[in-house]
């Protein structure tokens, strides 16, 4: 039986991608960092906040890596919000000392404000990184959804899209995998936070060209299966955005 408060969870259909986040059912806001363990190397994606939240993520990463934090040779942050960047300097102290942080050029400028002083690899649309095994990740920029420097990451081995805030949701009734009501929870997050239709449409156009088996967002639930992925893209395309103006 999985204890979602304490255990890292191996993502269904993959052999090496772990959910190391937490579902805050009180606030209705899950935070989902992910860990890819590729043989003897690992990448931590969107590490998360500080404080008691850091402790949760830290302990889950420790369990997934059996304590060997130095396996983490790479980290990535997909935009500059504190809910994914704040713990960067804390992780930087315990992972491989030569860790590389993959970050978009427009986001990199903000990293010193999180007191992250390690090495950075700045990426642009379509750039790739490879693990020693040859496994390739592609960085795809999604400008203005919801930051100028936002990007997502596509893992071609497992056909997984790490989508950052896109396809995220607000859900008190949180589950690790999206249920039949998830698309409404997704609107609850997207409508208030996405600014304009043009940028959202551009991101969706990029995603439609990919072969996606599952979407792993930084909030909300994992959207599993090609048909569900397709439906989610359609819903985001039709979302009414920029309504605070």
């Amino acid at each position: 039986m999985i204890d979602y408060e304490k255990d890292p969870v191996l993502i269904r259909g993959t052999e090496d991608i772990w959910w190391v986040g937490f579902g805050d059912k009180k606030v209705g806001f899950a935070n989902n960092p992910y860990l890819i363990i590729d043989e003897d190397e690992a990448m931590l994606i969107d590490p998360g906040p500080r404080g008691r939240f850091y402790k949760i993520v830290h302990n889950k990463v420790a369990k997934a890596l059996k304590g060997d934090f130095e396996k983490i040779k790479y980290m990535a942050v997909q935009h500059e919000d504190p809910d994914l960047c704040a713990s960067l300097p804390l992780f930087a102290q315990i992972v491989d000392e030569n860790v590389k942080l993959y970050v978009q050029t427009r986001t990199a400028a903000f990293m010193p404000y999180f007191e992250y002083e390690g090495a950075m690899v700045t990426i642009e649309d379509g750039d790739k990184m490879s693990f020693k095994s040859g496994r390739e990740l592609t960085f795809i920029t999604t400008p203005y959804v919801h930051f100028a420097g936002s990007n997502v990451i596509y893992d071609s081995k497992t056909k997984t899209l790490f989508s950052s805030d896109i396809f995220g949701a607000f859900s008190v009734d949180w589950n690790l995998y999206a249920n039949e009501y998830y698309l409404e929870a997704m609107k609850a997050f997207g409508e208030p936070y996405f600014g304009d239709h043009r940028s959202v449409a551009s991101a969706m156009e990029k995603f439609e060209k990919l072969d996606i088996e599952r979407i792993c967002p930084q909030h909300g639930s994992i959207i599993d299966g090609k048909e569900n992925v397709k439906n989610a893209i359609e819903v985001v395309k039709e979302m009414t955005v920029g309504q605070w103006v």
Binding site: G28, F170, V172, Y181, E184, A185, M186, E191, Q243
Partner: protein, 78 residues
């Protein structure tokens, strides 16, 4: 969009945020019955709506924000 239609929309959104059971209970407590064919309200529509929206907003700020956003989108005065 009238108030009944708006309640229906908010409830649907609430299924995502809170789950179906919680929303159905919240609605029932406000005198609103939700069914696939629409919304039925036994008493005063405005009073029932207010009670439902209060409960909806009280539980978490993200739901309160969503309700405000939806009201703005559909020109509904809360």
């Amino acid at each position: 969009m009238d108030m009944k239609q708006f309640i229906e929309l908010v409830a649907k959104r609430g299924y995502g945020i809170y789950g179906k059971e919680t929303i159905e209970k919240m609605a029932k407590d406000a005198g609103i019955s939700l069914s696939p064919t629409g919304v039925a309200i036994s008493g005063n529509v405005e009073a029932a709506a207010r009670k439902f929206f209060d409960a909806y907003s009280k539980t978490t700020p993200v739901a309160a924000m969503n309700l405000k956003m939806m009201a703005k989108m559909h020109n509904i005065k809360l």
